[in-house]
């Protein structure tokens, strides 16, 4: 146990500064895109969405481009290389023919994507023919094998990083299902064999090879001719390849910009069940609000990063001091001092573990018993054997008996009562939707619960309640406006998506902002359907009678009354304000001789905030005058 004096004060979970570090340290992905650049890729045209014909080559590169733009936000520590084969020029470390690794300055071949890289890549079409060129690399009569070369180059690039910490992949985009089709006889067999061997070597090194085949309009890509052997597919998987590849391309293009987090354990906890029996559980941050990436402050003149220096100054003497070791609270007219140790001692009311206190029926967990996002708990036998078994037994009992556990979760900085709610595994066609385990829900204390609803309780008469008919009408309305398959995962955060879009536009110097659709706006069209409108009208009639418009207006009137009052105040302030020569008062430094009420006249007349101390008011007036 290494002693870390700062640790006591750190809120252990979700430390944003460490997040980036952890991300980098955890496993990353290394990808090499291998794009066939043979003349055939350019000649085939496919009709695309906006009816402009696109060549296979364009499809492949736009797909990679979109994927790069997402990747730089989602997993910017992942590394990529883009490599064309069947090219006229060559550029690669091995100096092999027909292979061209695309890159920009200040970047290794396989490296993190940069704005410059993405930008250059988006202009690829303008210079591709001139600088790289397209040319068949496998011709009869020559021993050249561009596919073999491409695999070799890719494999060499992926030599970087250990297989343990990195996930290595190459993705091949091609529309040639029979690369050695025009070679005859022994040469063909020979080239096929060496190419397959090369692929196998790569796979043995832990590199996975994926194929994204592009079909001709009239003829489907026949992977059984050659590629099935290369990527090692058989039977059913082979049949799945084509449709899966189509989906894959769509995915790459329309992926959500979302920072990815590697699964990480927040904490290893001891969960004490009863009488000294403790099991081991791990906690995971399953749902956490995503924030805009961390901000780096820059000097706006040089655009260089700046650092923040904090200094402590004694308010009495003005002396510079070290971070003071004591804190104080004014209490009963005296300064009660606490040392940092004493404060952490107060906060430490329990060992850093989870302690089971008992069980309650699920309906005791009210909707308002919530404070923070929940944390997921999963058992582990890593250090305590037998943990998983007890956990699963309790998990099953809790689900069957519809109960949740109440436990006390104490850490050095935060102690809280928690509810442990068992969650059964939910699987749909897409895979695991909800993993099995328990969710730890942070319960409020009585100090945290407010009773706003009681504020407006009436003293004598009962408050109005809806009658049967009104409830029936409400039910009809609810049935009409039903979201059948609502899932909490369905909305992207429009503010965040907008931020990413702006960031991308600025970084890539794009002229216009990409359009971000706000998915959270209500379905106006749906609400205008006659059925819905009728249900609404009936509900309105039942609750409001004919008075709906009136009550609507009443509200407006109230607002206007308040604003009228405010306006009258401002008007009178303007009138009064004329009586002062503000500029002169300011110049002669006599503002401080006025009363706060007088100062506020100026502020109100100019629609400025009137809050704060006298000094603040004067400062605000001077700022407003531009002095």
């Amino acid at each position: 146990m290494e002693l870390d004096p700062d640790d006591v004060f750190r809120d252990d979970e979700d430390d944003p500064e460490n997040e980036a570090l952890r991300e980098r340290a955890s496993s990353k992905e290394l990808v090499v895109y291998l794009v066939d650049a043979s003349p055939k890729m350019f000649s085939t045209k496919c009709p695309s969405e906006d009816r402009k014909d696109e060549s296979h080559f364009q499809i492949a590169t736009s797909c990679i481009l979109e994927s790069l733009k997402t990747q730089i936000i989602n997993r910017s520590y992942d590394e990529v290389a883009v490599c064309f084969f069947n090219t006229r020029e060559k550029k690669n470390l091995q100096d092999l023919n027909s292979v061209f690794v695309f890159n920009v300055a200040d970047r290794e071949f396989l490296d993190r994507p940069t704005a410059k890289f993405i930008k250059e890549f988006s202009h690829l079409e303008e210079f591709f023919m001139k600088d790289i060129g397209s040319q068949y690399g496998i011709v009869s009569g020559s021993r050249e094998n561009s596919l073999y070369n491409a695999l070799w180059v890719a494999q060499a690039l992926l030599r970087k990083g250990s297989a343990k910490t990195a996930d290595k992949r190459m993705l091949i985009f091609t529309d040639e299902d029979d690369p050695f089709g025009n070679i005859k006889g022994g040469a063909k067999a020979d080239m096929t064999r060496t190419t397959l061997q090369r692929a196998k070597d790569a796979q043995d090194l832990g590199i996975s090879i994926e194929l994204l085949p592009l079909s001709q309009l009239d003829r489907e890509f026949n992977s059984s001719l050659f590629y099935a052997d290369l990527i090692g597919l058989q039977g059913e998987n082979l049949a799945q390849l084509m449709p899966a590849a189509g989906e894959r391309m769509e995915d790459m293009k329309y992926q959500l910009r979302k920072r990815m987090f590697k699964k990480r354990i927040v904490r290893k906890l001891t969960f004490s069940v009863a009488n000294g029996v403790s099991i081991e559980v791990h906690t995971y941050p399953f749902i956490r609000p995503t924030v805009l990436g961390s901000i780096t402050w820059l000097d706006s003149v040089t655009n260089q990063p700046i650092k923040i220096e904090r200094s402590f100054i004694c308010a009495d003497t003005g002396a510079l001091m070290q971070e003071p070791p004591k804190r104080f609270q004014t209490y009963k007219n005296q300064d009660v001092k606490f040392s940092v140790e004493e404060l952490s001692e107060i906060k430490r009311v329990s060992t850093g573990q989870l302690r089971l206190l008992g069980f309650k029926p699920l309906n005791c967990l009210k909707d308002y018993h919530n404070l923070r996002p929940s944390t997921f708990i999963f058992p582990s036998d890593e250090e305590v054997i037998g943990s998983t078994r007890i956990f699963i037994a309790l998990h099953r009992s809790m689900i069957r008996l519809k109960r949740f556990a109440v436990a006390f979760y104490g850490t050095s900085s935060h102690s809280q009562l928690v509810a442990l709610v068992a969650q059964e595994e939910i699987i749909d066609s897409g895979g695991q939707v909800e993993p099995p385990g328990m969710h730890m829900i942070y319960l409020p204390y009585s100090d945290d619960i407010r009773h706003a609803e009681e504020l407006h309780s009436t003293t004598n008469a009962s408050v109005p309640r809806a009658n049967e008919d009104q409830i029936k009408k409400a039910a009809a309305l609810i049935k009409r406006i039903d979201l059948k398959d609502f899932s909490v995962y369905q909305f992207a955060n429009p503010a965040l998506q907008r931020h990413y879009a702006v960031l991308q536009a600025l970084a890539l110097e794009e002229d216009d902002l990409p359009d971000i659709k706000d998915e959270t706006v209500p379905d106006e069209e749906g609400l205008a359907r006659p059925g819905v409108v009728n249900a609404i009208e009936e509900f309105k009639q039942s609750v409001f009678g004919d008075k709906y418009e009136e009550s609507d207006n009443a509200g407006h009137k109230k607002v206007s009354e308040a604003s009228k009052k405010r306006k009258a105040l401002a008007d009178s302030a303007v009138q009064k304000s004329v009586q002062y020569n503000w500029a002169e008062l300011a110049d002669s430094g006599k503002l401080k001789d006025l009363t706060v009420v007088e100062l506020k006249i100026y502020l109100t007349a100019h629609d400025l905030p009137v809050s704060g101390k006298k000094e603040d008011l004067i400062k605000r007036i001077l700022t407003h005058m531009g002095k």
Binding site: R112, R259, A274, V277, P289, I295, T296, W297, L298, S300, R310, C314, M321, P324, K326, Q329, V336, K337, E342, I346, V349, T351, L357, G358, C364, D367, Y368, N370, L371, S374, E383, V384, G386, R389, I392, A393, L394, R396, S415, L417, E425, Q432, P435, P444, S446, R450, A452, I471, L477, D482, L483, F491, N493, A495, V502, I516, I536, F539, V543, S551
Partner: protein, 687 residues
């Protein structure tokens, strides 16, 4: 009285049947005053006792009656004396009449604030409601309650009744109790009153709001079901974490003669170029940069304002959905409550109709909310019905924020059913677990729900305010252990464990748990000592085990054990891998010595404590930490004198232990003479 000020009169039942509860009553009442001293120190509080032998109130003098009611404290601004008063509430001798007490309390409030009634006036009654109420001179008890309630309403007073019911009442008391309960429940129907029944002393501590926070709406406007149907609502916070108070940093730079020193510390921030540490960048010259890959893209505030997401202020319905579509663990934050505009009767009915229909149909509503104009984001959340069973409280909705797609991390976990059989429970084990979950029940049928969040106080805050009070009197006091009542929150209830012993034993019999040996202890796992917890022994065991391991691993001592404390201390002092070790060793040694003396019986530990003290003294001289030792010795002697352990001081004097003087360590500010005379001087002055 100012608008935000509150006048509170505590009406406390001190009759014989309440005696065993009074320690808890004292705690909660003094806590209320302590918090007022911090957060609203101009509030006023009065205290009325009933069930006392004596009678002392103005009404009895004016009109007669109202016997056995004593005004312990007239309404006054809160101060330290009041805390003291409430910590020692005199015990009464007769069963008290709570109606009399309520009238006396009301009378005090009316007399004090007859004309100025701007502030809040609150009566707070604490009783077990087991003593009979006298029959009124005229009319029935109900009439009397009605009259009181009317008075209360007309003077804008609120009444809170906390009724403690610990165990099942039997015999003749039952009829008294039932009648009292009926009367106490009449108040909420007739006036602004609230009656809370609690069962345990822990819930008693949490039953009253100890801090008043004036509620503010976060939104007032339309809940838009469709463009054609808008309901006026107000949105408040339902839960909001009460944080540990932020204390100010203390500066000791001001001379002690300066009585008006604020002792505050200002924190100043300076921005400097990373490349050139001498170049200061003015704050307005800063610009925010966001990461884009390895690069940082600067975006100025203006630029950002021009393009950022700017939704209109609105609260709109997206639709209704089955409540099963929303999982409980999707709730993201603290909770809001939607209440219909209290001035709009139609809105109240509309909310009521929707809430009741949603409850019947098991539906929830999904909303999109922008609380304020100019807010840069939207929230999507779920509205759940809160149907009120109190005729005076309108129906409302709870609102919980849901995650966006970006907020959900798609971690995969193995299915339990796919795990190897060795990790899965067999049938018998499952049965034992079922039984365990059933038996360890916090909602027994004959009692109220235990540890209900609504009645559970925050143990850390309770502990802080108690310590604050203690420190205001004894600045050097150490942090006291966690209160017994509060331990019911942090640890399982021993009573419950004892009752359900068979279910627990059966669970333990069926499952085997074994710690894997030789695994390096994870540093993230905390094995800290919970202060003052039952765990300490357990903890010591663990730590002494780690200690053995550590010594085996190369003799790095990290803890002072019980067997060879002096050696451990010396080893820790000589560690050079982190300067913190010295401080840690000294602190641990001090604790050890303190514990020894405190635990000693007729001085049996004195010799051992002396050994440690000698070692500590030596260590402090070596490490140039004389002040640490000197302060500790002062403290120790003071502690001994206060706790009837004078014999230890004498013992030290005979063994010639002195303060560390200047001659021994240059940093000391104690002269040799002072050092020698210290223990002699510490003898109490004759009084």
């Amino acid at each position: 009285m100012a608008r935000n000020k509150e006048a509170l009169v505590l009406l406390l039942d001190v009759g014989p049947s309440m005696h065993h509860l009074l320690p808890e009553v004292e705690k909660i009442c003094s806590m209320i005053v302590q918090k007022k001293l911090v957060y609203s120190k101009y509030d006023e509080v009065g205290v009325v006792l009933f069930g006392t032998e004596e009678t002392e109130n103005e009404l009895t003098m004016e009109v007669g009656g109202y016997e056995h009611v004593v005004v312990l404290q007239n309404i006054k601004v809160v101060d330290g004396d009041l805390v003291e008063t409430l910590k020692q509430i005199p015990r009464g001798t007769v069963p008290g009449d709570f109606l009399d007490a309520i009238v006396v309390g009301m009378d005090m409030l009316i007399k004090k604030y007859s004309s100025t009634n701007k502030g809040k006036k609150r009566l707070c009654l604490m009783t077990n409601g087991l003593s009979p109420i006298k029959d009124p001179y005229e009319g029935s008890k109900e009439d009397q309650v009605n009259a009181i309630a009317e008075q209360m309403t007309s003077h804008g007073m609120k009444l809170e009744c906390v009724v403690v019911r610990e165990s099942v009442v039997c015999g003749e008391n039952v009829s008294v109790m039932e009648e009292n309960d009926r009367i106490l429940n009449l108040f909420p129907q007739k006036s602004c009153a609230k009656t809370i029944f609690v069962e345990s002393s822990t819930s008693l501590l949490g039953a009253l709001k100890t801090r008043n926070i004036s509620p503010v709406t976060i939104f007032r406007g339309d809940l838009e079901i469709s463009p054609k149907l808008k309901i006026k609502v107000w949105v408040y916070k339902k839960t909001s974490e009460e944080k540990f108070p932020t204390l100010k940093k203390y500066s000791d730079k001001a001379p002690s003669t300066d009585k008006f020193a604020s002792h505050e510390v200002k924190v100043d921030y300076e921005y400097k170029s990373v490349e050139d540490a001498n170049k200061v960048v003015p704050p307005e010259q800063r610009i925010k940069g966001y990461r884009y890959g390895p690069q940082v893209v600067p975006i100025s505030a203006d630029e950002w304002d021009a393009v950022k997401f700017k939704p209109e202020k609105s609260v709109k319905l997206l639709g209704f959905t089955d409540s099963s579509n929303i999982m409980r663990h999707h709730y993201m934050k603290d909770v809001n409550i939607f209440i219909a505009d209290p001035g709009d009767q139609n809105a109240i009915v509309a909310v009521s109709a929707l809430a009741r229909a949603m409850k019947e149909m098991h539906k929830v509503a999904i909303l999109r909310c922008v609380w304020r104009q100019g807010q840069g984001n939207v929230v999507v959340g779920v509205l759940t019905p809160n149907v009120s069973d109190n005729d005076h409280v309108p129906d409302s909705f709870y609102f919980n924020i849901l995650p966006f797609a970006e907020d959900v991390r798609e971690f995969q976990f193995p299915s339990f059913s796919n795990l190897p059989a060795s990790l899965l429970p067999d049938e018998e084990q499952q049965e034992a677990a079922d039984n365990f979950v059933k038996m360890l029940d916090l909602t027994p049928s004959d009692r109220k729900e235990m540890l209900q969040p609504d009645f559970t106080p925050n143990p850390v805050l309770e502990r802080f305010y108690n310590y604050l009070e203690l420190k205001s009197k004894h600045p050097d006091a150490a942090v006291p252990p966690l209160d017994k009542t509060l331990k019911r929150i942090t640890e399982p209830d021993p009573e419950l464990l004892a009752q359900k012993k068979s279910a627990i034993d059966s669970l333990l019999r069926h499952f085997e748990v074994k710690e894997k040996p030789k695994l390096k202890k994870s540093t993230r796992r905390m094995r800290e000592k919970p202060s003052g917890s039952d765990d300490e022994d357990n903890y010591r065991r663990i730590s002494s085990k780690t200690e053995v391991e550590l010594i085996e691993n190369g003799g790095k001592v990290e803890k002072i054990g019980d067997s060879t404390p002096v050696q451990d201390f010396e080893a820790m002092m000589s560690r050079r891998d982190n300067p913190e070790w010295v401080n840690r060793a000294i602190t641990e040694m001090k604790n050890k010595i303190h514990d020894l003396i405190e635990d000693s019986y007729e001085g049996d530990n004195y010799a051992k404590a002396l050994d440690l003290l000698v070692a500590l003294r030596k260590g402090c001289i070596l490490e140039q930490e004389p002040k640490q030792f000197n302060d500790f010795l002062h403290q120790l002697c003071k502690f001994c004198l206060q706790n009837d352990l004078r014999s230890f001081c004498d013992f030290l004097a005979t063994k010639g232990i002195t303060l560390i003087s200047k001659t021994e360590a240059a940093d000391s500010d104690v002269t040799e003479e002072e050092a020698r005379s210290f223990l002699v001087k510490s003898e109490p002055k004759p009084e």
